[in-house]
Symmetry: C2
Subunit: 277 residues, 2 copies
């Protein structure tokens, strides 16, 4: 049996069921390269479980196809711990498919994920979430500057939907994209597309750092305001809202001191982008 | 201080951090009317925490505005437990806003949510999720049959995105919408709109019951195949996929024995719905 177990988005995000399983399986593997969990310490988890954990890296899972894990899961009960909710990082589904092909049973133990937590933590409704998109760290050598995040935002706004941007983080090398830098990239994409601007100084933005942890920091305001904020360490995400319900507007003003005039300005601009479909 | 704590989607879905907080706060409230957690028992939780829990209902929270909770949180540490990830049910944000207005600090302890778990449990990529929509229990007396779920599906498909349908459940009265009934309703909406059909016997559908629990049941196949399946007790959800990546197709065939010809047929139909935007 092979369990895929989510570590969640904060240090102690494992569920009670996950703990029970981790205490009884034969081997516990863990990967921490697909994301970063603030303050998470391997020592702490090993002490709590009273057992050793085997750390696997990208090479083990992607180049060697998780062969060690599969071989062990064929004859014993094995758990693989991953940040967030399992399979939100898309690399692990291949391992699950291969396990099932070899007649190894699999089960998923879910946990919190930034995808729902980003919305619930800032008072925006997840039912108005459009397509999610990642803003990647620029590769100056490649010379190719993708505009996908801008295009996804535009499509979502045309339907009045909120856009969640995940900011790339390379856990292995310690590189990450900051919120001000991501906002700059979005502005640059907007300029390059050259249509009527949707990302500029007056765009309403919610910036989220370390969601779900005791040191969570969230700010809501105009893009120019957010560019001057020091959000502290990663991980980060951004939301650019679509059509806001009055209660969502209240959440942004009450919980994060977002200025009403920024919201009102944005409300008018979203109206002009909305497509009557 | 007022903690909003997610119970997650399964019996033992509470996180380690949630447990620590629940053991030290002065009062614990719990609502179970916004969703159903299979096999969750209040007794079990009270025994594990070694304390009593106060159950609140819709009237307490929505008509009386959670006044009891707010008054207590003004002078003590209080936790409110809710199914899934807090605030995914949209009713509780009002309570958080009111708390902050009264200078009561709030914090959210996240947990698993059907929204990400539905995708990760069936091998579909959450990055291709379009707008989410709920299919509600029909109200024959009202005479109004909404077509919103169909319209959302169509918009998502035009962009190649997957659609997650949540099937309404009324925890208080025990009423719920089954998967076969929801599929019938979608077919009926499709017929009433009268455009080129997208929901009929050959539509590719993933049906999910009790996601994240030990008794999870997932089936993937044509709508006509899924209509004949007995999914067992609720909660339920459905996904109608958009453009599938080869690995997503492999997940559906390997993990759920989905027939390749159903996937291939659907692939062609999605192509014809795709809008070049």
């Amino acid at each position: 049996m092979l369990y895929f177990i989510g570590l969640g988005i904060s240090e102690k995000g494992l569920s009670i069921e996950a703990l029970e399983i981790l205490r009884r399986v034969d081997t516990v593997f863990l990967e921490l390269y697909t994301s970063i969990i603030p303050d998470f310490k391997l020592d702490w988890l090993e002490n709590m479980l009273g057992r050793k954990i085997r750390v696997v890296d990208r090479e083990d899972l992607e180049e060697r196809g998780g062969e060690d894990i599969l071989r062990e899961a064929k004859v014993a009960d094995v758990a693989l711990l991953t940040p967030g909710d399992p399979f939100i990082a898309t690399t692990h589904i291949v391992l699950r498919i291969e396990a099932e092909r070899r007649n190894i049973k699999t089960r998923i133990i879910h946990s919190s994920s930034i995808i729902t937590a980003a919305f619930s933590s800032c008072g925006l409704q997840v039912y108005k979430m459009g397509r999610i998109v990642t803003i990647t760290i620029p590769e100056p050598k490649v010379g190719y500057r993708p505009i996908t995040p801008y295009l996804v935002l535009k499509e979502n706004l045309e339907r009045g939907l909120h856009t969640l941007f995940l900011l790339e983080i390379r856990a292995e090398s310690g590189e990450f994209l900051t919120i001000p830098k991501a906002l700059e990239l979005l502005e640059d994409m907007d300029r390059r597309v050259g249509e009527e601007s949707i990302v500029d100084d007056n765009t309403l933005v919610v910036g989220l750092a370390r969601v779900g942890t005791p040191n969570e920091y969230i700010a809501a305001g105009s893009l120019s305001e957010l560019k001057d904020i020091e959000f502290g360490p990663p991980p980060y995400s951004l939301i650019i809202p679509g059509v806001l319900h009055p209660i969502e507007e209240e959440a942004l003003t009450t919980l994060f001191d977002c200025k009403l005039e920024v919201i009102e300005g944005w409300r008018e601009r979203v109206k002009s982008v909305l497509k009557n479909t």
